[in-house]
């Protein structure tokens, strides 16, 4: 719902981008070349995405390093969410979407035929724009993933069969909640329904739920856009902390936020083009593309 709303409400600036934004400027290859030490955790290569006839991504190539925060910025409707959804193949769930190109995770192609989506999504976790906890208890939200993957056996049947993991579950729940900086706030009400939490707490719960599956990569689509400033600050701190262990890819349309939390930034502009990708300081201080400079200095978008 809000996805469509934001798309509609931003239809105007999007138009202005195409008219005033010097769309004649050619994207140069070297603007999107970003050199970093070590192998890419995720590498997208010539990624095209269509929704029906409409092309939403134009041949995007982007390498994401491990243990750092990669920010994707750009005006609404420029394909940031679309790109993010390619990385854990959530676009497969949208009927009209078709994806062309290649994405590798640790060097392995994820768009080849034999790929197990369940395994892929266990390794590439995702946090959505709207906090979406399940209507279950806080504890059950966290242990949901591990339980479904068979990493946890709890409940009456498990107890009867002598395979009860209740202690492991407690440990896992505590670890995930501590990791998401939520433990102190909820440790006395783990059995309460998660819908009783505030928006910011719900979003951190969703992050904890994602961490409980022990992924390698965490994708976040505007994780703080529905939250108030204090909750946003908490999420930002958390993202920076997570980058010590995970490759974090964050979509945001808030440039200050991208500048604050990210190590490298990719700028998408209208039409689904990746225009510039590089170290965050460089992008914000010396952008090489005129259009990116206009966008960052607020001339449009």
């Amino acid at each position: 719902m809000s996805e469509t709303e934001s798309r509609n409400s931003t239809a105007q600036p999007e138009q202005r981008v195409t008219t005033t934004g010097e769309s004649s400027e050619e994207v140069r290859e070297e603007w999107t070349d970003y050199e970093f030490a070590g192998d890419a955790k995720i590498a997208a290569e010539d990624l095209d995405v269509y929704y029906g006839e409409e092309k939403a991504l134009q041949s995007v190539s982007l390498d994401v390093p491990d243990e750092s925060v990669t920010a994707l910025i750009g005006p609404s409707g420029c394909g940031k969410s679309t790109f993010l959804r390619c990385l854990n193949r959530m676009n497969d769930r949208i009927k009209s979407a078709s994806v062309d190109g290649s994405v590798t995770l640790d060097g392995e192609e994820i768009y080849s035929d034999g790929v197990n989506l369940v395994e892929l999504r266990k390794r590439v976790g995702m946090v959505f724009q709207e906090p979406n906890p399940f209507p279950k208890s806080i504890k059950d939200n966290i242990s949901y993933g591990p339980r479904k993957h068979g990493d946890l056996d709890t409940g009456l049947l498990a107890r009867l069969l002598g395979r009860d993991d209740t202690d492991e579950e407690h440990e896992l729940v505590e670890r995930a909640l501590r990791r998401a900086a939520l433990w102190e706030e909820v440790n006395d009400r783990l059995d309460d329904n998660a819908l009783g939490l505030s928006g910011g707490q719900q979003q951190r719960l969703c992050i904890a739920r994602c961490l409980a599956v022990d992924p390698d990569v965490i994708l976040m689509d505007e994780p703080a856009s529905a939250l108030d400033p204090i909750a946003t600050a908490k999420i930002e701190d958390l993202i920076e902390e997570l980058a010590e262990e995970y490759a974090v890819v964050v979509v945001t349309h808030n440039m200050q936020q991208a500048a604050r939390i990210s190590d490298q930034t990719a700028v998408f502009l209208t039409g689904g083009e990746l225009v510039e990708y590089g170290e965050t300081d460089q992008i914000f201080e010396h952008p090489r593309s005129q259009r990116v400079e206009d966008y960052i200095t607020g001339k449009f978008g």
Binding site: F134, Y144, L195
Partner: protein
Amino acid sequence: MGSTIPVAAILLLLGGFIVTGGIGAGWTWSPAWSSAEFPGSELVPILVVFGTLLGAWSAGKAKEGFGAEGRQAGAYYLIGSVVFAMLAVLALLIAFIVTNGLQTMLTGTSLFGGQFTVPFVGVGLPWPEFPFLMNQTGGLYVEIPGVLPAVIGTLWLVFGAVSFTVPLGIGAAVFLTEYAERGRFTQVVEIATNGLWSTPSIVFGLFGLAFLVPRISGGNSIVVGQLVLGFMLLPLVLITSREAILAVPDAHRDASAALGVTKWQTIRSVVLPAAMPGTITGVILGVGRIAGETAPLLLVFGGSPYPSNTPNVLTSFTLTAQPPFVTNEALLSPASALPYQLYSTITAGVFPKEIFTNTEFGWGTALVLLLVVVGLYAIGVGSRLYFRRKLHHE
């Protein structure tokens, strides 16, 4: 203002006539233009009802000062009195059944007159005695005939129908909403289920009689009754659970998929629990309907009008060496259910026992039926509350 003055005038006139005795129960209006007669005993209540509605409406308008506020208040009072009238009709109905049936139902009851023998110990304890509920209907030695066979029969019918319909209905709803492509096929199924739900019950009964009875039991039987009532219940369960599943937000499905959980596990652990209250609502409504259903039972289920034994379903299972391997004599025999009992009692000639007349026994049965249905509702509402609690923080 304009509409309230004539109303007030009419009401004044009407009130005047009634108070001064101009029109009353004994008075009759025979208009010249027709041969019909309107006796006052019927005309006066009708006039009073209309007068009340008109009066409530204009009183509301007058109270709030005639403007938009007044119209609002007028509508409010009007709707209020209609709702009140509806509740009054309901209360009247229930009061009527209770006053007529209570005497019968309480015949021979005593709080400590009965005996309850503690199992294994063999000590008798004083126990409430409730012959109308606990006795057989017919039989030589029964002093106060009761409705126990019919109560048990009704419970078995409902239990049987619900226990095969709920899994089937939910399964079909899951298939239609989560797996099947929306299109011509799902549309046809939708129309067919809506049509099935509005099919008259006697048609289901006829189907049971012509198709199921010869194939399953060769005569009236509990199991065919369960099947027929289940078929009647199925469309409602399907419709309500489909709605409930569609109402589960996609965000839950996305969240689960992004955790690497398979579609089927997502449906089982996230979608269905969230859809449970809606499904239960459907089952409650349906059970209310099938528990009181009579017509199909006449065709496929009912046995002796005054049964002298209770269906013994639990202990009648026997294993056999050939298919179908498990048989149950009791399930394959006819029995009695409360609505069927009610129908056969009031249409039969003379009640075999001195103690009740047909009508007395019928009212007692009606009251018990009412209580059983209310009890089933209570179970349903209770379980819906339980699932709601689990889903929402309250």
